[in-house]
Structure formats: structure tokens, C-alpha cells
Symmetry: C2
Subunit: 504 residues, 2 copies
């Protein structure tokens, strides 16, 4: 006999599934846009996506859903998972209710202007072209913080959109450690003899690379019956439900790094999505937790696994056999070092896994101070260039290679960048725990068997979706809150070896 | 200064565009389902399509749209195109309003049962498995006719869904001519020495076939910047707006017919869609006229052009060069005859362009009589087999190869089949007119220049969308209503030559 509450919960679930159907449809349209859309189809596609987005918003903010959520949130006879779903859905619903139509319209107009002026500014390598529109955007974002509300710091309201529950104070602490510990460590590395990787830029045949990438994904445990790989200008992962999670890659015939680590990185994202509960389709517990946790899955595979000795013991021979003309004379040790080169550089997306965090640290500080109002938009280039000198010891030759390099700000995505670093730090903390709990992990990886690791990630992380907060998940998995310590330990051990640093 | 009426018309246009956005999104999801969907994604995809279909229905039947249409339909200060759009949209709107929720639910349930039982019946080659569900379906379809209303014959209401304005009485006349003229002509042909085409079933490399198909499409004038070709189990054309019209093909390495004529056929459909007015996106005048007119475009290219001597004079050499091992010894004349083989056969989709119409005639008569109530569902196999003997002089060995061969009835698509024949007859009538108006048409085609023909079709047919009714379009283009005469003239001339029949 089904109770009245169960009936209402089913109604809620049906509404959430319907909303997910529309959102996944938007994802299909986006995926197609990035992979197969013919040139002239772009304008209509943008319109189709915009219409579905409007419909999605209507469903997500409907009074009927609100009433249902309020009603269910007062019921005591739901189980723990159901309560969590209702609470999380209500939370999202209430956040969306805070936006006035006027604000949404203005944000959409400014976003469009901002993106257009960013395109122009980047082409001219002149931040001052971008500055006026971005000034407006920052004004709107400050308004948004007030609209959404916060407890400690206005920037928390923006962080919360990408990393629910994350606090500015917490990031300041984490990045304080990054600054204190990583700057000196990178300087030590820079003083050592540098690693050679010139063979990575020889000619690598496209079809052979493609097949090697497919093999990488299969070895990781990516399910090709519940997904596929295609080619796009920028690699990405997208999900239409956990039984259809797709990745894309990019192949550069004169840069072997590109395809290999985009496959491993996107593969890591995709394994997370494929590991979400299909029966919780549309519900928070069937959805990824946060961008930081999502990124932890991609980076764990990309760096902790994909740049390890064990991984390349398993896979290097096959790579050599595919490209004997380039790698025949390169031994495993040299290859391993090459894929772990550390070198301060201008462009975030090309940065190594250590100096990467300086790029994020700088973005974070600038964003925080813009939102506080303690710096002005027009001063960004000067601040940017000064900080790159201070943290990375490099001169920024132009805005294009400096503060205009990334698209995020032009979309109004302030509060997004920190999730990249959080991903790496979570990855290090999760991975040391996996190493503790899977006694022969390295041995298994060396033999190309990734199943124990995937199984561990599935059990400990993937299956929970948004059941936990990120903080609670981290405690549940590792016994403590996120700390920078594990990343630093991992970095010291690995790079100490590669660059022949003395242990202190 | 924009007037109040113009404002209301713009509102109407915006609503129609929104509806089109949702419908085209459904088409994207369907396209992906047939081309790239991973196996496990099928269930979620079906659900996503079903949700969007529900939303589309809500938009199409909204009170707001209805009010707008009623209001605009009374305004005299709209131009001719605008009036036509409003009238056509109101007509569609009113048709949708006639369906009660109860009827829609029952139809959806019976359709699902009907499809499932058809799958089982076909596998067992036993019509009696399909019979009970189809009996219910026919009952519902008879109800639907009453619900929709009709002037002369209940079957008209069903025809109208696929071929607006088409009448049973008109089809009876047309098919009377088909019966009278074509049965004897095919018998004459059957009595002549038969044509050899055994080389068409040798091994034809997939990649070479694919490239040849792309070349075919390009030569026809298909715009690859506003579309693309992919592979699917059953070839189809789909549109997401006239700037993104996609085709699919199927390649059988042991049957050269398959790829070539599916490319030409779908290419013909696609040229129609690419020729619709992009600025009328979402409006009737930006949409195809009817299934019969759509099919006229595919068949005109497939048969009138694609099985002509001129076409193969232009293209055979390249085909020979691609497959010298199979076609090196086959001359143009033999090839031309082979691709025009006439041979009564069991399966509609494999039929030649003459005997094809017997398949449709039989379906039409059975459907009409089912709707009148003059025959019973359980008697279909006997009637079917008797008619195949009478018209095609062949014995039907099993229901699977007989009345269970096509999926349409299992979907409740009664009134659909006649549009296939209408397509061929319209094609013949249009093509003779093109031949009259483009004096050097054959010469141009012989030189591989399809532009004059495409330009003619664009000007005379494509650009009008649904501005005309099919009957009015036919009169506007050819000066008279659709008649079987042009098809028969075309058939007599072409097949008389190929089979060496004496002129009477």
C-alpha cells in the first residue's frame, strides 16, 4: 500500500525527471554543436538552446514544484536519502527564486556584451576594450551576492554556485599554504637541471593516436556502451544520464601530450558521471556533487594515476610500439620525467600540475578583491602582471597572454576558477586514502588493472551523488577535512625524485 | 512605426518559432538516436523525447496561442503570406483541439501495444498475433475520423494528416488509372527478355562507396555547410531548420543499389528542406507542404533524374573508375538498363518504380475498407495474398513477407502509404514541366550540371513552403491538377525503350 507521502515523493521525482529530461536535451544540443553541427546551423541552434533553457527555468521555478518541496520538507516519514533530495532541491529552488526578472534580463544583456567585448579585446590584446563591460559585470555580480545572501563574505555567494558550501575564508587558508609551500618548492625545481621532452613534439599519426586514446579509456573502465568519444575543438565531458556519458578529445599531430592527457582527464570526469545512480536520474543524489569534486575525479586520473611511474610501466611499451620512430630511443624513465616537466608559464591550460595553482591563486585573489571592491577592474592588468612576476617569476608580454586568456570572466563565471585547484587538492587527499586502503594499488596499475581503483572510487564517491556535502564526503572518505598537506606531500615525493632534490 | 496588428503578428511568429525550437530539438534527439546513441542510452533517450513531445503539445495547444490565432484571423491588414500562415496555423490548432485527453491516452496505449505485438507477430510471421491489437487500433482510427470530421469519406480525415486536402475519391480515380494502365504494362515487360544486373552484387568497398555518395550529394547541390551525412540502419532526412538539414545513408558492400539511390533519394528530400525560407522558420510557409510533395522531391531526383541516361552519362565513368574490377566490362547502356530493372517482388521497399505502386494500391484499398468497416482485420492476410496474386502475379509465402512487412500500421499511421505514390506521380508531372521550361535540361544533366534543375525546383516549389495547398501548387507549377498521365507517359517511353516494346 503506497502512502500519501510516498505518492507526493513520486510526484516530486517525476517533476525532477522531467526537468532533467529538458536539461539533458540541452546537453545533447550542445554536444552536437561542439562535434557535428554544420557551419550554417549555428544561429538556429543557439535559438533552440535558448528556448529550451527558458523552458527549463520555468519548470525549475514553477509554483507547483515549490509547493511540493515545501510540503515534503516538513514530512518526517521520508528516509535519509529522500530527505536529502528534498532538502537539496528546495535549497536550489529557493536560490532560483531570489533572482528577479529584472536582474536576469540585465545579467543576460551584460553577459552578451561582455563576451563580445572579450572577443574583441583578446584579438587586439587590449584589456581596456574589455574593461567597461566587465566593470558592469562585476557590478552585477556584487548585486548578485546581495541578492543571494551570504554569512561571511560576499564572494561566498558566488563560490556556492559552483562549489556549494565553500567559503572564502577556507580558500584563503588553503591558498596561504599554496603560496607558502609551493612558491619555494618550484624555485628549487627551477634551479635544477631541466628535463628534455623534445620528442613529444615530433609527428604522431592521427589515427594511431585516436586508437591509443580509445585504449586508454577502455583500460580505465570507461563503458563505451554507455558513452562514446568524438573530436571537438576543446575536449569536454557531457552527460545525458549516467547511461550516456560522452567525452571528446583533440588530436595535435605535433604534440603528443594533447590527446593522451585530455583522454585521461575527460575519462576521469566520465567515470564519475557513469558511476552516478541511474535510478536517481534527475535527483540530487543522482547528480555530481560540485565542480571541485568533479575535477578531483579528472585530476586524480590525469595526474595521480596518469603521470605516475606505475601507469607508464603498464602503458609505455604499447606507445613505443605505435611510434617507434619517435620513441624507440626514449626509455621509460625519460618518458616519465618528460610527462612531469615543471616550468612556470603564461597560459593556465598548458601549465604543469604545480605551477598551475599559481594561476588559480592569482585569479582567486583578483576576483575576491573585485567583489569586495578593494580593487578596480581597470587595474587588473597591472595587478595581474605584478603577481605573475612575484609568484611565477615571469614577465607577461601582453594582455592576450595575461588576464584576457580565459573565457570564464566574459561569461560572468566568477567563483569558478578555485574549483580547479580544489579538484587537485581533493584528488591528492583521496588518492593517498586509496593507496592506504588498496594495499596492492600500485602493483595493479603497473599491470594495467585499473578496476580496484575504479571500484574504490565508485564505492566511496561516485554512488553518493550529492548525498553528502563536499566537506562531509571528504571526511567520510579520508577521515578529515580538505587540507593542502596531501597535495604537498605527493608533490614533494614525486618531484623531489624527478628533479633530484635532497630530502629535508 | 509598427502597428498593433504587426505587433500581434510578431508575437504569433515568436510563439511559432518557440514551438519549432522544441520540435527541432526533438529531431536532434531522434537524429542522435539513429546515428550515435550508445546502446545503454536508449531508455533515457526515449524518456527525454517523450518529455519534449509533451512540452511541444502544450505549446501547440495553449490557450494563449489560440486566442492570438483567432484574433489575427479576423484582421484584414495582413499581407497574403501572413494571412496564409495564420489560417494554416489556426487550422492545425483547431485540429489539435479536437482530441480529447481520454482519446490521446488510449491512442498512446494502443499504439504501444500494437507496436509490441507487431514485433512479435513479424518474428513469428503470424498475423494473428498482431490482429487483436490492430483491431483496436482500427477502432480508434475510426473514432479519430469522427472526431476530426470529414466531408466525403471518413478515410479523408486520416489522409489529411499526411496529405492535407487529399481525398479518397481522388485517390480512387488515380489508382483506377494505375490499375488499368500499369498492370498490363508490367505484364508486357515481364514477357520480354530480362535485364542482367549480377555485377551490382559484387564486393564494393565501403569507403569508396561513401565518398561516391558524398560526391553525388555535392553534385546535386546539397549544401554541406548546412547539413551533413552520417550512417544509420535506415536512411532518412531530418531538418533542424533549413540551415541544418541532415541525411543518412546505409552502405551494403554487396549491393551497390543501396548506397547510391539512398543518397539520391534522401538528397532530394534534403534539397527541399534546404530550400525552405530560413526567415520563415517555424511558420507554415517555412515548412514543407505535405508528405506527397516531400516525396515528389526525393523521387524526382531518385528516379526521373537518378535513373536516367543523362545522369549516368555524367556519372558512370567515375563509378567505373572507382570499381574497375566489377564494372570495367559493363558498358553504360547495360548499367542504365540494370538500374531500371522491373520485376514484381514481395517487399515494397525493394520494389522497382513501376511495380512499387501496386504495393501502395493494395495498402490503400485495405486501409480504406478497414475504415469503412467493409472488411475485418482478421481477413487482411487472405485479402493481401489474393491481391498480390492478382496485381503482381506472385504468391506470398508468409505474413512476414506479406502484410507484416511494414512498420506503419503498428504506429497507427493509416493514410500514410498513398503519399508514396502521390510523390512519384507529382514527380513525373513536375519533371515533364521542368523539361519543357528548361530547354537544355538533359544536356546540362549529361554534363553533371544539376544547378538549372535545382534552381527551377527552388523557384517553383521549395520557396513556397506551405503557402499553397498541394493541388494549388501543382496547378501553379504545371497548369493542371495531379494526373497519372505524366507518370504513365514517362514509364512508357523509358521502359518501352529498355525492354524493347513496340510503340502502339
Amino acid at each position: 500500500m503506497i502512502t500519501a507521502v510516498e505518492k507526493r515523493y513520486e510526484k516530486y521525482q517525476a517533476k525532477m525527471q522531467e526537468l532533467a529530461d529538458v536539461n539533458y536535451a540541452i546537453s545533447v544540443l550542445n554536444w552536437d554543436q561542439e562535434t557535428y553541427l554544420p557551419q550554417k546551423g549555428a544561429a538556429s541552434r543557439a535559438q533552440q538552446i535558448s528556448t529550451l533553457t527558458k523552458i527549463s527555468h520555468q519548470l525549475a521555478t514553477s509554483e507547483e514544484l515549490g509547493d511540493l518541496l515545501h510540503e515534503l520538507s516538513e514530512k518526517s516519514d521520508l528516509n535519509e536519502w529522500e530527505r536529502r533530495n528534498v532538502a537539496e532541491s528546495l535549497n536550489e529552488y529557493q536560490k532560483k527564486q531570489k533572482y528577479t526578472t529584472d536582474f536576469v534580463v540585465r545579467l543576460s544583456q551584460v553577459t552578451s556584451q561582455c563576451y563580445q567585448s572579450w572577443l574583441k579585446a583578446r584579438a587586439a590584446s587590449d584589456f581596456s576594450i574589455f574593461s567597461p563591460a566587465f566593470e558592469e559585470m562585476v557590478g552585477l555580480k556584487r548585486e548578485e551576492c546581495e541578492l543571494l545572501g551570504y554569512e561571511e563574505h560576499p564572494y561566498d555567494a558566488l563560490l556556492d554556485q559552483f562549489e556549494p558550501g565553500e567559503k572564502t575564508s577556507n580558500l584563503l587558508e588553503l591558498f596561504h599554504d599554496v603560496h607558502k609551500q609551493l612558491v619555494d618548492f618550484v624555485k628549487e625545481i627551477s634551479a635544477r637541471p631541466q628535463v628534455n621532452d623534445e620528442w613529444m613534439y615530433k609527428f604522431y599519426n592521427k589515427e594511431k593516436q585516436w586508437q591509443y586514446g580509445i585504449d586508454i579509456l577502455e583500460q580505465m573502465g570507461y563503458d563505451f556502451k554507455a558513452g562514446r568519444q568524438d573530436v571537438s575543438a576543446h575536449p569536454f565531458t557531457t552527460s545525458f544520464g549516467s547511461n550516456d556519458v560522452r567525452v571528446t578529445t583533440r588530436i595535435d599531430e605535433y604534440n603528443l601530450y594533447e590527446m593522451i592527457w585530455s583522454c585521461i582527464h575527460e575519462g576521469g570526469h566520465a567515470l564519475y558521471e557513469q558511476g552516478l545512480k541511474q535510478e536517481d536520474y534527475g535527483l540530487p543524489t543522482g547528480n555530481y556533487l560540485s565542480l571541485g569534486i568533479h575535477e578531483s575525479q579528472s585530476r586524480l586520473w590525469e595526474n595521480n594515476v596518469g603521470r605516475s611511474q606505475a601507469y607508464w610501466k603498464a602503458n609505455y611499451k604499447r606507445l613505443q610500439e605505435n611510434f617507434p620512430e619517435n620513441l624507440g630511443e626514449v626509455n621509460l624513465e625519460s618518458f616519465y620525467k618528460a610527462v612531469n616537466i615543471v616550468k612556470p608559464s603564461l597560459i593556465r591550460t598548458n601549465a604543469d600540475e604545480l605551477t598551475y595553482h599559481f594561476h588559480i591563486l592569482i585569479r582567486f585573489l583578483i576576483e575576491k578583491e573585485l567583489i569586495e571592491g578593494s580593487i578596480k577592474v581597470k587595474d587588473i592588468p597591472a595587478i595581474w602582471n605584478q603577481k605573475y612576476k612575484e609568484y611565477l617569476d615571469i614577465d607577461v608580454p601582453s594582455d592576450k597572454e595575461g588576464c584576457l586568456q580565459d573565457i570564464h570572466w566574459s561569461h560572468g563565471s566568477l567563483g569558478y576558477f578555485p574549483t580547479y585547484s580544489l579538484g587537485s587538492f581533493y584528488a591528492a587527499q583521496f588518492y593517498q586514502q586509496a593507496q592506504k586502503e588498496i594495499s596492492d594499488l600500485e602493483y595493479q596499475i603497473t599491470n594495467g588493472n585499473m578496476r580496484p581503483l575504479l571500484q574504490w572510487l565508485r564505492t566511496k564517491i561516485h554512488q553518493y551523488g550529492r548525498f553528502y556535502t563536499a566537506e562531509d564526503l571528504c571526511i567520510a572518505v579520508t577521515g578529515e577535512k580538505l587540507t593542502f598537506r596531501y597535495f604537498m606531500e605527493y608533490a614533494k615525493e614525486k618531484y623531489g625524485y624527478i628533479y633530484g632534490l635532497k630530502k629535508k
